[in-house]
């Protein structure tokens, strides 16, 4: 190994290990500056010895041992040996491999993001201590001089020491504020990378990746905080669009024009998973969870036309109430403009123009220009785009805005289905519920017929084909609702009668037929029906509780001999009871178990998708059976019985029970 190679290899080890070493040492010496010095000493020792002797088997342990030895030497050398320091030296000598290192890392995070530090020091110190970045790397990422970063870090450490900031997890009353400060630092780092405020490149991926790492680390250390998962979800989902956000020459590509095929599905999935974890915690959504929910809606839309703008506008409305910042208001205006037409968006933007906080904010002009252009007010739009271009510090963005300013009025093109749909849904005389309902119909038409298809080319036959596939088997009421949407659309667009071939279906008031007892018996007698399914189905039938309730039951909730159990809904406790069908199966299902979820999944969950401990069987490690899986199995088993061939639902089953008919 040549020396530069060895140095790069050591740097890789250092980036994996330095946080734990610094955190562990700070836990003992209680001074983050000193701890970092000792850790640095260990790094210097590694740089001297490893190129000659090779990298040790356990490089992390080697670095930790060396750093501790330096710390002990330092304390011993100190002439004025106080009792406390003697004690620290003893602790260091006795300490084996530290199991509390995770807590120490979390303490370190709270410390480096402490509100006594100015924001730029917090980000620099956090990247240094928790990302293992050198001052040079941080300087390059933030486009400032290395000396500035070194100075910021040194000042930060001095401030922490002078103000005697304790190395501890914040006490309860402070926790929310302190956590908010940590999340803010992580998000600041991410945003600096994602929407670079200056420089020639639109993005600095290094910073995004560092922020993602910090977020994931935090989610691991503080898993019960919904906002942490919300922030991770938000960052994963934004990062998933990285490749699609810039065009071939580095110019920005707006969300609705991005090639969604280039969104990184791995990151999208990670984002969804983080969002699910946030929701499972069940706290009322905070600002990061709300922003993540908006990102989720974008990620779920198959195309820009498919975006559920009314829902996104509503989420921004909720976000504005929690974070009444003009920037959030501006984003709400964009969403409103998409959901209910450019004029609605412009009305909100025009109020923001008076806000002095936004006087130099280029996006305000950019958004206003966009809304004006959509309203056909091209001269005013051009002025706004020019203003935006002169306000931005980002070269790629400036070029983009200049081009939009130069474009002026776009050439008039023949209306496409997608455009007509957007304009139709943007009408101001429709209430949100109607827009939502019509939107479902028209988005399906756009999806199947293509949003770029000229409106005049679409025939009543095309519409019938779409309807037959999409809603042919749906309830008559659903069919008629979609039919009404098409009729309204074609009147508005003054085109041929697109609903001509759609017959209105008679609506009956009866629910789907209940499942009869003999059918259930036949199902359970089939040889391939597992004991778990038999038990669940009988329980739903006999107790008439919902499938969700049944799946949430724990073994502790059941009294088998008395044939009843209890469950909580909201804050109330409810009872359920069952009869002989369930009673013969239940003891077999719980055999050998006395706690944990009653209905278990077949396999143990993967480490990356570990549910909360309440949803795990403490004995077998298997997770709780999910509703989706249970529903799928029931539908599959009942396909042959259902005349429509779709299979029955668990909802139907629990409404078929004896007590509903014979109260």
């Amino acid at each position: 190994m040549t020396a530069p190679d060895a140095h790069r290899a050591i740097d890789a080890v250092w980036k994996f290990e330095s946080t734990k070493i610094i955190a562990g040492l700070t836990g003992v010496v209680r001074d983050v500056g000193l701890a970092e010095e000792f850790a640095q000493d260990a790094l210097v020792a590694a740089l001297e010895q490893w190129p000659r002797q090779g990298i040790p088997d356990n490089p992390g342990a080697w670095l930790m041992t060396t750093a501790k030895r330096r710390a002990i030497d330092h304390i011993r050398r100190n002439a004025r040996l106080e009792d406390k320091q003697k004690e620290i030296a003893r602790t260091l000598e006795q300490q084996g491999s530290d199991e509390h290192v995770d807590d120490d890392v979390l303490r370190l995070m709270f410390m480096s993001c402490h509100p006594v530090l100015p924001p730029e020091s917090r980000t620099a110190l956090t990247l240094r201590l928790l990302g293992g970045l050198t001052a040079g790397e941080i300087a390059r990422a933030f486009l400032v001089s290395e000396q500035t970063v070194t100075q910021r870090i040194a000042d930060a450490k001095r401030t922490l020491a002078e103000k005697r900031i304790p190395f501890e997890l914040p006490p309860r009353p402070e926790l929310a504020d302190r956590l908010a400060s940590v999340l803010e630092v992580v998000y600041l780092i991410f945003n600096e990378g994602y929407a670079a405020t200056s420089g020639d490149d639109l993005m600095r991926p290094t910073l995004c990746l560092e922020a993602l790492r910090l977020g994931r680390l935090l989610a691991d250390l503080a898993p019960r905080q919904a906002e942490v998962h919300g922030l991770v979800a938000l960052m994963e989902l934004h990062a998933s669009r990285s490749a699609a956000r810039t065009g071939p020459s580095g110019e920005p590509v707006q969300l609705h024009e991005q090639n969604r095929g280039r969104w990184d599905q791995l990151l999208v999935r990670r984002g969804f998973a983080a969002m699910l974890r946030a929701r499972e915690i069940g706290d009322p959504p905070g600002p990061y969870v709300l922003q993540a929910a908006i990102a989720v809606h974008h990620a779920q839309a198959k195309s820009a036309e498919d975006t559920d703008w009314p829902r996104i506008a509503a989420l921004y409305g909720a976000l504005v109430r929690q974070m009444p910042s003009p920037v959030v208001q501006l984003n709400r205006a964009i969403a409103l403009g998409m959901a209910h037409g450019p004029q609605v968006g412009l009305d909100v933007v025009d109020q923001l123009v008076r806000d002095p906080a936004l006087k130099n904010y280029h996006l305000l002009s950019g958004v206003r220009g966009d809304l004006l252009a959509r309203l056909g007010r091209h001269d005013e739009a051009t002025r706004e785009f020019e203003r935006a271009a002169s306000l931005t510090h980002n070269a790629a963005e400036r070029a983009f805005l200049r081009r939009r300013a130069a474009a002026g009025a776009p050439p008039r093109v023949e209306a496409t289905l997608g455009q007509a749909t957007r304009e139709f849904l943007a009408r101001e005389d429709l209430d949100p519920e109607t827009v939502r309902s019509y939107g479902q119909t028209l988005r399906r038409l756009c999806l199947d017929l293509g949003p770029k298809t000229p409106l005049v080319d679409i025939t009543a036959g095309d519409v019938l084909r779409v309807f037959a596939v999409a809603w042919g088997t749906a309830a008559p009421k659903t069919w008629n609702r979609h039919r009404a949407a098409v009729r309204s659309f074609r009147t508005w667009a003054s085109v041929d009668d697109l609903s001509a071939e759609l017959a209105r279906k008679p609506e009956s008031r009866t629910r789907r037929a209940p499942i009869a007892l003999p059918q259930l018996e036949t199902l359970c007698e089939q040889s391939d029906t597992a004991l778990r399914e038999q038990t669940l189905w009988w329980l739903l039938y006999e107790s008439t509780v919902s499938a969700k309730t049944a799946l949430s039951l724990d073994i502790e909730d059941l009294d088998l001999p008395r044939r009843h159990g209890q469950f909580t809904r909201g804050s109330e406790s409810h009872r359920l009871s069952w009869q002989s069908g369930t009673a013969v199966l239940l003891p077999r299902l719980v055999e050998g178990r006395c706690r944990g979820p009653l209905f278990l999944a077949d396999r143990r969950p993967a480490p990356s998708r570990m549910p909360r401990s309440a949803d795990l069987c403490p004995d077998t490690g298997r997770g709780r059976l999910s509703y989706e899986r249970a529903e799928y199995l029931f539908k599959r088993a009942t396909k042959r019985l259902d005349p429509s061939g779709a299979g029955y639902t668990l909802h139907q089953l629990s409404r078929s029970g004896p007590r509903r008919e014979d109260p």
């Binding site: 890789a12 088997d57 791995l266």
Partner: protein
């Protein structure tokens, strides 16, 4: 940057190895380094396209002493980090062989 790693090695029944491997995987998954991973059948199918004709040849091409295979897709800051992780991986599984390809973006 992302790397695709593949590895082959001997089958092991050592319980301690599984536990250590599980811990390693869990740590990498939660920190976001490990994006995807799985086992791999070593029976390889080779495709060759020459002048528009595709020839399919079923393997195995690996040596018989290597009986298990696996792959991992990881995201790291540098090639050196990928190398360091691979070193740790082989420290756990013992003798074997691996390949690493950088995924271009």
């Amino acid at each position: 940057m992302r790397f695709l790693m593949t590895s082959t090695g001997k089958q092991s029944t050592d319980e301690a190895l599984y536990i250590e491997m599980g811990k390693f995987m869990e740590e990498l998954t939660s920190s976001g380094v490990l994006l995807a991973t799985g086992g791999m059948d070593l029976g390889t199918t080779l495709f060759e396209a020459v002048d528009g004709t595709v020839t399919v040849t079923d393997g195995p091409f690996a040596e018989a002493r290597e009986v298990v295979g696996g792959f991992a897709l990881i995201e790291v800051r540098s090639k050196e980090e990928a190398v360091e992780l691979t070193r740790r991986f082989f420290k756990i599984i013992g003798d074997g062989e691996g390949r690493m390809h950088r995924i271009l973006d």
